[in-house]
């Protein structure tokens, strides 16, 4: 760095360090952030600039934390970036009051520094956002594939939402593993919550049923709504010898029958008797 630039730099750092209260007040006004946050940030910058070697690690750490916090509070990335950039405006007012050419030249250098920090917050902001989206996707995948036990030896998978290849694979693996773990010989796949069935979804369902059969379990597909039945027939999808039922209740009754459980109607309960009398 050339000598005049060095002088300019020293001058702007001096200005920055000497006018703490004035800068902070103006900065808080411009950015609308809490003054405590900004004071911490100012102190980190203060420490970085007054040291021999300019080390912004602390300042960056603070900024990253601030940025992540703001993601959670639902601020836009521009808001967070503006918070950092408004420091320039606050400092410029101090520079103008000083009026010296060195200070003005130094301001250009300082401005580049603040730009860097601003971009850094932007990057942290995006990566924090991506992290949240990624976590949510994983949670959704786990949430959306519960395998429930309906009866001794009968398990069911109520599918809700669109079935894509990734989900179909998770469903298949989870169902088959549950069959092994619980020793269940009957499985019901309920597709009441699946909005549409196309050839691909049907293919996934068929694969699951065949895989379950290979392991020695029987699969029933239930919850086929009238429109879906219509679509399946129109598309020419063959379900072969796979048992399909209209409702989960029908499927359960079928599975119970297959596992040798008989259901009989007992003596009428009090509620039923009262209803009959009325």
């Amino acid at each position: 760095m050339t000598v005049p630039a060095e002088a300019a730099r020293r001058r702007i750092v001096d200005l920055f360090l000497s006018s703490e209260e004035r800068l902070l007040q103006r900065w808080t006004q411009l950015s609308g952030a809490s003054s405590d946050e900004l004071r911490d940030l100012y102190q980190a910058l203060h420490a970085a600039l007054s040291g021999e070697e300019a080390d912004f690690a602390d300042a960056r750490g603070l900024l990253a934390e601030l940025s992540r916090g703001r993601v959670r509070q639902g601020h836009t990335p521009s808001d967070t970036a503006r918070l950092v950039f408004s420091l320039k405006e606050a400092l410029y007012e101090v520079v103008e009051a000083d009026g010296g050419p060195d200070a003005l030249r130094g301001f250009v250098w300082f401005s580049r520094l603040v730009d860097d920090l601003g971009l850094y917050t932007f990057e942290t902001y995006t990566s924090a956002r991506e992290r949240i989206i990624f976590d949510q996707t994983e949670q959704l995948l786990e949430l959306s594939t519960p395998v429930v036990k309906l009866w001794e030896g009968i398990v069911a998978v109520p599918l809700v939402g669109t079935l894509d290849s990734a989900r179909a694979q998770v469903v298949m693996e989870k169902l088959l593993q549950t069959l092994v773990d619980t020793g269940s010989e009957q499985a019901v796949i309920d597709i009441t919550g699946v909005p549409a069935v196309d050839t691909q979804v049907a293919q996934h369902l068929l694969k699951t049923v065949v895989a379950a059969r290979l392991m020695g379990a029987e699969c029933v597909i239930s919850g086929i709504r009238p429109q879906i039945a219509h679509t399946i027939v129109t598309l020419g999808i063959e379900f072969g010898d796979i048992v399909t039922k209209a409702s989960l209740a029908d499927a359960l009754a079928y599975a119970l029958g297959r596992s040798g459980v008989e259901i009989t109607r007992g003596a009428p309960t009090r509620v039923a008797v009262r209803a009959e009398r009325a």
Partner: protein, 121 residues
Amino acid sequence: MERVPILKLGDILIVSIQVDLDDQSVLALQEDLADTVVSSGARGVIIDITAVEIVDSFIGRMFSTIAAMTRMLDAETVVVGMRPAVAITLVELGLSLGGVRTALNLEKGVAMLQHVRGTAG
């Protein structure tokens, strides 16, 4: 070449595959099994593949062959203990093991053979 032991339990033969089979062992097993079914007069065969982690199309076909072969000798074959990963692989390979009975575990396999014989005889 490793030979897979064939155990006799009442009138059921139990074959528990514990190692990864090569093609030679598979062929040897088929021959041994046919011999043993005839000599022991067994009415059922259970192939336990709980320990098998990899099944290729050749082994997949072996199950069908053994099932067809033992059926001719009046013995039913049940494949038991297939792992989920193996089942998924077989489906992806397009093998559905037609004509082979399957059960979740050895116990259910034995129960299935007794049930089949009960209805037949």
